[in-house]
C-alpha cells in the first residue's frame, strides 16, 4: 500500500545491531549459571521501571546487588611465575620488558625494535627486549599483567626500581609528550582499551600522527587492462562506442526530453543524466598526488584485526580488517566534504563484489572507514563508506518488469533466441 513505511511500528525491541550487551548492566545473579563448558552470555534480568512497593521486588533487587558486590569483590591474584617486569623509559616515553611471558596478550602486543630504532642501543638483550607503546602500557598496567617500574637507580636494594602507580602511568603516557609515533590522547586511549577488551588486535596506523605516507597504488582503482585483441573481439567494446556517441549527444542545451520515439525506458533515463557525480572507479593516481590534504583533522588512527584472525603475525601483519579514525565529539563537527574526501583518499580501494545484490553493493561502498566518535569517554562507532549511486543504475537492472515485454532487444542486431 502507498507509503506503507508509516505503518512500520516502532519495533518491540531494539534492533540486533543496536543491542550491545556490554553497555547494559548485567544481572549478576545469572553469572552462577554460566559455569561449565558451554558458556553463553548470561541473560539479562527483567527490568522494572517503577517501585511497586512489593517485598518481592525489593528482595530481588537486593539479591542482584549482593551478587554484583560478590562478583566485584573477588580478589585477583597473579601466579608467581607469570609476572612480567617492565621498565619505564622516560626518553622515548615507552616501556620495555625482557621476554615477557605469562599472558597470551603478549602474542599480539609489543614489538622488538631493530638496531637503528632501539633507544637503548644494540646490546645483547635487544632481540629479547619488547617495547610497548603508551596505550599498550596503560592497558597492561590496568589489567595488572605487567609490573611497571621506574628506571633503576643506585638506591634500589633489589635492583628493580620503584613501582609505577596507575596514576603515574596515566600521567606519563597520556598527554602531549610524543612517544614513538605520536602523542596519545584520552580519546584514543578510550577507543584502544574498548577494542582491546572486546578482543581485537589494535595497532597504530602510519597516519597516527601527521599525514602518514602518501597514497599508494592500492588506494586507486586499477587501470582497466585492455589488450588490443580482447578489445576488438568483445562486443562490449562495440557497445562502448555506442555509449560514447550518446554521451556527446547529451551536451545539449536543454535538460528536457524531447517528444519522440523511445524504445525503452533505459534510453529515456540515459538522456536525463545531467548531474556530475563522483566516481571512485575513475580517479587517477596522478591527479590525487598533486593535491596534498590540507585539513586532516580526521585521520586513520588504528589498524584493527579481528580476534580470530589467523593471518595476523607480528612480523607480517597483513592488511587490517578495519581502519578506525578517532574523533573527539566536543572538538569537531560533522565531517565536511573536504575532510571526508581527504580521508577517503588515504584508504585502499575495495570495491564490492560484482555478484552482490544491489543494496549490498551500495552499502558496502568502494572505500570505507570506521569513525570512532568519543564524547568524554563514551565511544560510538560509525561506518562511513563511499557509495557511488551513479554506478548502480536501476534502469539497467534486469527483471524490473517495466514497459511490458522486452521486445526492444529483438529489434536491434540479429535477434536472439528467446
Amino acid at each position: 500500500m502507498a507509503d506503507a513505511d508509516e505503518d512500520v511500528k516502532p519495533r518491540s525491541g531494539p534492533l540486533p545491531e543496536d543491542v550491545d550487551l556490554s553497555e547494559e548492566i548485567q544481572d549478576f545473579r545469572f553469572l552462577g549459571t554460566a559455569t561449565g563448558n558451554d558458556v553463553k552470555i548470561p541473560k539479562r534480568g527483567e527490568k522494572d521501571f517503577e517501585p511497586h512497593e512489593t517485598a518481592l521486588q525489593s528482595n530481588t533487587l537486593a539479591a542482584s546487588r549482593q551478587a554484583m558486590h560478590n562478583a566485584l569483590s573477588f580478589q585477583r591474584v597473579h601466579p608467581p611465575k607469570g609476572v612480567a617486569l617492565a621498565t619505564f623509559h622516560p626518553e622515548s616515553n615507552m616501556a620495555y620488558a625482557i621476554n615477557p611471558k605469562g599472558s597470551p596478550l603478549f602474542v599480539r602486543m609489543g614489538r622488538t625494535l631493530s638496531k637503528g630504532e632501539d633507544p637503548i642501543g644494540d646490546d645483547g638483550l635487544r632481540g629479547q627486549r619488547m617495547w610497548f607503546l603508551p596505550e599498550e602500557v596503560i592497558y597492561l598496567v590496568e589489567r595488572g599483567t605487567i609490573d611497571l617500574r621506574w628506571p633503576v637507580t643506585e638506591d634500589d636494594k633489589d635492583g628493580k626500581g620503584l613501582p609505577v602507580s596507575l596514576q603515574a602511568a596515566y600521567a606519563m603516557f597520556l598527554g602531549e609528550q610524543q612517544g614513538l609515533g605520536g602523542a596519545l590522547t584520552f580519546e584514543r586511549y578510550s577507543v584502544y582499551s574498548g577494542l582491546k577488551r572486546a578482543g581485537y588486535t589494535v595497532l597504530r596506523a602510519p597516519s597516527f600522527e601527521g599525514s602518514g605516507p602518501p597514497a599508494t597504488a592500492e588506494c586507486h582503482p586499477p587501470v582497466p587492462q585492455r589488450t588490443w585483441q580482447a578489445g576488438l573481439l568483445s562486443l562490449a567494446w562495440l557497445k562502448h562506442i555506442f555509449h560514447s556517441a550518446e554521451k556527446e549527444d547529451q551536451e545539449r542545451s536543454s535538460i528536457g526530453i524531447e517528444p519522440g520515439l523511445y524504445r525503452n525506458y533505459a534510453d529515456i533515463y540515459r538522456r536525463l543524466a545531467l548531474i556530475q557525480w563522483y566516481d571512485p572507479t575513475h580517479t587517477l593516481a596522478a591527479a590525487a598526488s598533486q593535491s596534498p590534504p590540507i585539513d586532516d583533522e580526521i585521520r586513520v588512527t588504528y589498524h584493527v584485526w579481528k580476534p580470530g584472525s589467523s593471518t595476523f603475525k607480528k612480523s607480517d601483519h597483513g592488511p587490517p580488517d578495519f581502519r578506525i579514525a578517532v574523533v573527539d565529539a566536543r572538538e569537531t563537527t560533522a565531517p565536511s566534504l573536504q575532510q571526508l574526501s581527504n580521508l577517503m583518499a588515504t584508504l585502499p580501494y575495495e570495491p564490492p563484489k560484482a555478484e552482490d545484490q544491489l543494496y549490498q553493493k551500495l552499502k558496502h561502498g568502494y572505500k570505507n572507514v570506521i569513525l570512532a566518535i568519543v564524547d568524554q569517554g563514551v565511544v560510538s562507532y560509525l561506518r562511513i563508506s563511499d557509495a557511488a549511486f551513479g554506478r548502480e543504475r536501476l534502469y539497467e537492472r534486469a527483471g524490473r518488469g517495466f514497459g511490458g515485454k522486452r521486445g526492444g532487444r529483438g529489434g536491434r542486431g540479429r535477434g536472439r533466441r528467446r
Binding site: 518491540s12 572486546a198 542545451s253 548531474i275 563522483y278 565529539a329 557511488a388
Partner: protein, 585 residues
C-alpha cells in the same frame, strides 16, 4: 479429468479454487488434489479465500509519465513475427508515435503553499501512477479521499465496510493496538495489586479487596498509566493470554517506545474504555467521522437503507500537491506538466523563469512575499467551493489590494513578519502581484537548487524519490515505488563549500549555511533511520562559485538551465552504525 468426475461427484467449486490442477490421474478415492473424497471432506470447513489486493504491478507499469514503443520480439522460428516486426518498424518510421501524451498535464502554481496543485482527476491519477509524483492533500499520499468518503458513507449505512483504503486499515490497526495496550496495562496493575495484597497478609480477603480496589484503582488509573510502561515479560504474556494476541513481547527495555499511546492516555479515556467494554466492542473511529460509541449502529441501518442503493454523490475535495522540485522535473526535464501561474495574463514560463520563481520560494517567507491576506474572508465560502489554488489565487488577484496590512480588519495576518528585514523595493509599494519579479539568478547555494540537483540525480538513475519529511530526512529512495517495498535509503543533503571563492571574506558572508552540524545531530538522524530500517545516505553537494555569466549562457546568449545545473557535483556516503561486539567474526 474424467476420473475426477466419477469420484464422488466433485463439485466444480472444489475444482475451481486451486489454480494448479495436475493432469496426472491420482489414486482413486481421493480428489484431484489428493484430498479425501467429498463425503469425508464436508465436515471440514474450508478457510475463506483472502481477497486479492489491487494489482500494483499493472497499475504502476510505467516508471515515468512517458510512453515507450518497443519493437515486437523477433522469433527466428516463427516467420510471421518477422513480418510483424517489419510492419511495426515501418509504421514507426512513417508515423512515429510520440512518447508524450497529446495534451500535457495542468498544474497550478500556488505561492502560498509553495507547491503546484493538480486538480484534474485524470491527471492526478496519471501523475500518481506513473512515477509516484505528488501527495494528495486529504490522504496520506495516494489520492484515496473520494473512495474513503464513499466507503465511509456506505459503511454508515451498511455497518460493514468494503475494500478499505490504506488510512482506514492503519486506523483500525492503531485502535486494536491501543486497546491491547490498555488491557495489558490493566492486567499488570492487577498482578501487582495481588502481590501487594498477598504480602500484606490479607490473603483471606484478597478477593474482596481486589474487587474493592478495582473501581477505586481505575480512578487512579490515569496518572498510573502515565508511568507504567510494561517491561516485564511475564506480565506481558499474561496479557497476551487474555486477549489472545500474537504480539511478541520481549523482556527488553522499552526505551524505544517513545510514542507509547498508553502512556499519554488521559484519565477520561480509561474510563470511557472500561465503560464501553461493558456495552460491547467499540467501533473504530475513522478520521472525521465520529460514530457514537454507545453502539447504536443497528439504528442507523434502517434510516440509511435507501441511500445504500445509490452511490453517494460527493464532489472530490482533494487535489494533488506536487513539491517544487517534482514540478520542475516534470515540466522542464520530462515536459509533461504545464504549470499555470496565478496571473493568467502572463505567458507560460520558460524553464529558467520557472527556476527563478521556484528558487524565490525556497525559503519562508519567500523572497518576494509581502504581508498580505491569504483568504479574503467574505468572498470565499468554505463549504460551497473546494479550496483549490486556482480559486484562491484568482480571489487574491481580484481582491482589492491594500497597501498597509494593518489598516483593514478584513483579514487574518498569516505570514509572520520576516526575521530579516526585507529590501525596501520588495515591501508593499508595487501595484501588481508580480510573481516573476526580477530576472536575477538565484544564489548558487539556494535551497531549491540544491534540492533539485539531488532530486534530478536520483531520478535519472531510476530511483523513485519521495519527500522524506516523515522520517526526518530530505528524500526517501524507493526501488520501484512506495507500494512495492519500503524505502531503503534516506538521503540528507549537505551543502559543501569547497570552492576557493567561499573561503574569501565575501564568500563567507554569502554562504547560506553558516554553521556546521554536530555529531549529536548525526547520531540522532542515524538512530531515527535505523529504527525504521533505512540506511542513511549523506549526499554532499559541492556548491560552485557564483557564475561568471559566460559559463551559464548558451549559444543564444540566454541563461540555460542545463548549464546551471551541470556545475554541481554530488558525492554520496553511506553511514551505518558499527557494533564492536557484532563484528568479531
Amino acid at each position: 479429468m474424467a476420473e475426477t468426475v466419477t469420484i464422488g461427484g466433485a463439485t466444480p467449486d472444489i475444482q475451481g479454487i486451486d489454480d494448479a490442477v495436475p493432469e496426472a490421474s491420482l489414486v482413486p478415492g481421493t480428489n484431484i488434489n489428493g484430498m479425501k473424497t467429498q463425503e469425508q471432506q464436508t465436515p471440514k470447513k474450508r478457510p475463506p479465500r483472502r481477497k486479492k489486493g489491487p494489482n500494483y504491478a499493472l497499475s504502476h507499469n510505467k516508471p515515468l509519465p512517458l510512453d515507450i514503443h518497443p519493437l515486437p520480439a523477433f522469433h527466428p522460428s516463427n516467420p510471421i513475427s518477422l513480418l510483424r516486426l517489419c510492419y511495426v518498424y515501418i509504421f514507426h518510421i512513417l508515423a512515429p508515435p510520440s512518447s508524450h501524451a497529446k495534451s500535457s498535464y495542468i498544474g497550478h502554481f500556488s505561492s502560498d503553499t509553495r507547491s503546484v496543485h493538480v486538480t484534474n482527476p485524470a491527471h492526478i491519477r496519471a501523475l500518481w501512477e506513473m512515477g509516484f509524483f505528488g501527495k494528495a492533500s486529504l490522504s496520506r499520499s495516494e489520492p484515496t479521499w473520494l473512495d474513503r468518503e464513499k466507503a465511509r458513507l456506505r459503511a454508515q449505512a451498511a455497518g460493514v465496510g468494503g475494500a478499505r483504503a490504506a488510512e482506514v486499515v492503519t486506523n483500525a490497526r492503531r485502535e486494536e493496538r491501543r486497546l491491547f495496550k490498555l488491557e495489558r496495562a490493566r492486567a499488570e496493575r492487577e498482578k501487582i495489586e495481588r502481590q501487594r495484597a498477598v504480602e500484606q497478609g490479607t490473603a483471606g480477603v484478597e478477593d474482596a479487596s481486589e474487587s474493592l480496589l478495582e473501581p477505586s484503582q481505575e480512578r487512579q488509573a490515569g496518572p498510573d498509566l502515565a508511568h507504567t510502561s510494561p517491561g516485564s515479560g511475564a506480565l506481558g504474556q499474561e496479557a497476551e493470554g487474555l486477549l489472545k494476541k500474537s504480539e511478541q513481547l520481549n523482556p527488553e527495555p522499552s526505551e524505544h517506545r517513545v510514542a507509547d499511546p498508553a502512556a499519554r492516555i488521559p484519565k477520561s479515556r480509561a474510563d470511557d474504555f472500561l465503560a464501553s467494554l461493558a456495552n460491547g466492542p467499540m467501533p473504530y473511529k475513522d478520521g472525521a467521522a465520529i460514530v457514537p460509541s454507545t453502539g447504536n449502529i443497528d439504528g442507523n441501518v434502517n434510516v440509511l437503507d435507501e441511500k445504500n442503493l445509490t452511490e453517494p454523490n460527493i464532489q472530490n475535495q482533494e487535489h494533488l500537491q506536487i513539491t517544487l522540485e517534482e514540478a520542475f522535473f516534470l515540466s522542464s526535464a520530462l515536459g509533461v506538466l504545464h504549470i499555470k501561474l496565478p496571473d493568467t495574463k502572463q505567458q507560460p514560463p520558460s524553464p529558467i523563469d520557472l527556476l527563478i520563481l521556484f528558487a524565490k520560494h525556497a525559503s519562508f517567507p519567500s523572497a518576494q512575499s509581502r504581508v498580505r491576506p491569504l483568504i479574503p474572508v467574505p468572498s470565499l465560502a468554505v463549504n460551497s467551493q473546494p479550496l483549490h489554488a486556482r480559486a484562491v489565487s484568482h480571489a487574491i488577484a481580484v481582491a482589492p489590494l491594500v497597501k498597509d496590512p494593518t489598516e483593514s480588519s478584513l483579514r487574518v495576518p498569516i505570514t509572520a513578519t520576516p526575521l530579516t528585514p526585507q529590501p525596501p523595493h520588495l515591501v508593499a509599494s508595487q501595484n501588481q502581484v508580480d510573481l516573476m519579479g526580477s530576472k536575477q539568478l538565484p544564489a548558487p547555494d539556494n535551497h531549491f537548487l540544491l534540492n533539485y540537483v539531488v532530486y534530478h540525480h536520483f531520478r535519472s538513475l531510476g530511483w523513485v524519490v519521495r519527500p522524506g519529511l516523515k522520517f526526518g530526512a530530505d528524500y526517501m529512495l524507493y526501488n520501484r515505488g512506495p507500494v512495492f517495498s519500503h524505502a531503503e535509503f534516506a538521503v540528507i543533503i549537505m551543502p559543501s563549500y569547497t570552492d576557493a571563492y567561499w573561503e574569501t571574506p565575501s564568500g563567507r558572508r554569502e554562504r547560506r549555511v553558516k554553521g556546521e552540524k554536530n555529531w549529536w545531530w548525526l547520531h540522532c538522524v542515524n538512530r531515527v533511520q535505523s529504527q525504521v530500517k533505512k540506511t542513511l545516505v549523506l549526499c554532499y553537494v559541492d556548491v560552485p562559485a557564483p557564475h561568471s555569466g559566460q559559463d551559464v549562457r548558451g549559444v543564444s546568449g540566454n541563461v540555460e538551465v542545463a548549464k546551471l545545473l551541470r556545475r554541481y557535483k554530488i558525492r554520496e556516503f553511506v553511514i551505518k552504525r558499527w557494533a564492536v561486539n557484532r563484528s568479531r567474526e
